[in-house]
Assembly symmetry: C2
């Protein structure tokens, strides 16, 4: 470490999170020093335009447009990467590790795609990468998984890890908005981007799940291998029916260890109103984890935002500083073991209950035929709602008991062949 | 460290949690070694009766009845104290620290009463005490507070941290049991002791709050200074009314930083059904924390039980082993700073909404008088329910708006003086 208990920090990028980190060091710096005995000093910050006015007032000589001034400065102990995206973040982090610096990053895409490679590189150089802020904003997730639950075999993980979709589903549920209305509201408030497809289609959640499941199940995953189903198929009617049946609808990221492999994916699901995930509203996130020892545990909080994310970044910098103080150059890290090969299973490997919303003409005869079609595949039904709509069409909503997915879809095909049934039923899993 | 990457553990006490720790080391030992690079070896275990048969099969020479064989054995790196109670645990932990051993403890009473003194002693000897398991069983709380939220000023903490009372209130709420019935059920299932007063009166929660608030607000507290109100005054009627108004009733441990000091205590309260704490059922615990950066965050899980608690103990042993590996003898710890003096405020320092259930004779005239009595103290009412009971008595239930507690109790005194009002109204705070 440079001098005494001062740790010198170099930062790559100064957007909202970077601004948050700088603000925290100014605002809570003395609190941090009192609690930890460590003084953090911002030595150099890579920006595109040093002359731009920013909310946090830093001495002008701190700014640079040359990344080497950060990653190669021998006085810098910890490099904090907040640029986002794959390149040049990947190259700069690699360079920093090779210069024997600890790295802190909030880069979800990079950790999901190249986390394994970077952790391996860190391990080779006796360094470490801290990435708590890459998933779930300020919510402690990485550290609890790596440390607090270390003795557990994780059996299952179910999370609400995308704030945009959770905000939209919450507004649809609590304010009776339809999807478009809720999306516009989310965009207005900055909870959804102008092009929200990454969030809506579940890809953002898939990236986060890749990082979390990699840690929890001690393996290396590729986000492209994950099944994802977005929320655009969730209608206001589904939300009403779900509530009538005692459920709410959430976009879930799910991973479950099966005897034959790991089943994981992202999809909307009915969540019982009594489940802790049901009270996760608006832009909040939560991860529900089941371990063999600890049983069920959940972590809840704001999954995004400048200050929550910056709070996680600063905690990681402090952890890096502790490691620096101790001079440990060979601290075991998950990077050591999680090249473990794992068999990825489709979600159909999990048995589940299913919710189905059908549109039907001529209700009385049809209902018996629907029930028979399910019965013939031994799919038993738990709950049923029938409602007549104004134009003579009827809606049949049902929830199955636990059923093998293949069998369920076979029965659904039978149903779809019934002449009175309209195409494209609404189908969602039900959280058990 | 003794040899290579093996860490030798001495254990004081082998009850349910100790048995759990031994079982984990047998069952998940290779998983742990793979994840962490550390092999934990149980070197010696202090027991009363070495000949007793136990669920976990350990070689007989591991057992000893002489505590010095544990705390003075030079080959032992980490001493795990699982005896409970103040003495001899306090003396033995002190001895272990003086022998330069790291200490892990699950001892809530000891950490609440003497945590400060022991952390200070550990600091003097360059050691550390890990006490994650002393609060909230397996739920990660201490580590998130010490590490993940380190950059935050904690503003508020609200927790359900007693499993017995939460089980009882859950059964009253979901199964419509009365207090006695729910208590018997809890005792039957082992969620309540034969003498449950420590739990029911909120003392157990007060001890846990002492430990958590000491860490969160960076100060030293005495559990005897805390206001506690138990759940014996909560009736089935209160639970019904609460639900009608959109609330459930929970025993809450509350701490809030005010400009003039720290207000904290334990009391039953109405929790909105949409609040994440509302879906914390049965023996589960959860802590809701608000930090200046992270905003609102919550940690949820099983607050007790052999394996969850043992899971936290083993995570602490691994952390101690990391510290051992690094050879850090001066790692900053909260023990360094939290002799900080803090002004303890009564709960009345917090403004709150209040729930009141009154029994009244002759309803029509009375109600106006009740409303007037509150109005005269400028206590404004938010929600009101009136119900006539069979024997001519009426029940008036109301919820105030946010009000200063002194003013509220003055108004309640006015109400109590009304001739038609029966004594002993039910009064609970309402979580904001």
């Amino acid at each position: 470490m440079s001098s005494g208990e001062t740790v010198k920090v170099g930062m790559l990028g100064m957007g909202t999170v970077g601004g948050g980190v700088a603000a925290i060091l100014q605002r809570n710096g003395s609190l941090l020093a009192r609690k930890t005995g460590i003084k953090l000093e911002l030595q150099r910050v890579l920006v595109r335009d040093p002359s731009r006015r920013r909310a946090v007032d830093l001495p002008p000589q701190i700014y640079t447009t040359d990344p080497e001034m950060v990653v190669k400065d021998p006085s810098i102990d910890v490099v904090v990467e907040l640029m986002g995206g794959i390149e040049p973040a990947r190259t700069l982090i690699s360079a920093a590790l090779k210069e024997n610096k600890f790295v802190v990053t909030a880069n979800k895409d990079l950790m999901a795609r190249h986390g394994q490679e970077l952790l391996q590189l860190a391990y080779c150089y006796g360094e470490d990468i801290f990435f708590e802020a890459s998933v779930g904003g300020g919510i402690p997730l990485i550290r609890p998984l790596k440390h607090c639950l270390v003795a557990n075999r994780i059996e299952r993980m179910v999370g609400i890890i995308n704030g945009t979709t959770n905000y939209i589903l919450t507004r649809m549920s609590l304010d009776d908005m339809d999807f478009q209305e809720a999306l516009s509201k989310a965009q207005e408030l900055g909870f959804a981007e102008a092009d929200p497809s990454n969030d809506l289609e579940g890809r953002d959640a898939a990236y986060k799940l890749t990082i979390l499941a990699g840690l929890a199940f001690d393996c290396s995953l590729n986000p492209d291998d994950l099944f994802t189903q977005g929320i655009s198929g969730v209608t206001r009617a589904d939300i009403h029916y779900a509530r009538e049946l005692g459920y709410t609808i959430k976009l879930l990221a799910v991973a479950e260890q099966m005897p034959t492999g790991l089943a994981l994916g992202v999809h909307p699901a009915l969540v019982p109103l009594t489940h802790p995930l049901a009270t996760v509203y608006d832009e909040f996130n939560a991860i529900f984890i089941k371990g063999d020892l600890i049983g069920e545990t959940m972590f809840y909080g704001r999954g995004a935002g400048a200050l929550p994310t910056a709070s996680a970044v600063v905690a990681d910098i402090i952890d890096a500083a502790y490691s620096l103080q101790s001079g440990v150059k060979d601290r075991p890290s998950p990077g050591k073991s999680n090249n473990r090969k794992i068999t990825l299973l489709p979600l159909s490997a999990l048995s589940s209950r299913f919710y189905v919303r059908l549109q039907a003409r001529d209700l009385p005869g049809v209902f018996g035929a629907v029930a028979t079609a399910f019965g013939e595949e031994e799919v038993s039904l738990d709950m049923i709602i029938q409602k007549r709509k104004t134009n003579g069409m009827a809606e049949i909503v049902l929830v199955t008991h636990d059923v093998n997915e293949e069998r369920f879809y076979r029965s659904l095909k039978r149903v779809a062949r019934l002449p009175a049934i309209e195409p494209e039923p609404g189908v969602f899993r039900v959280l058990g």
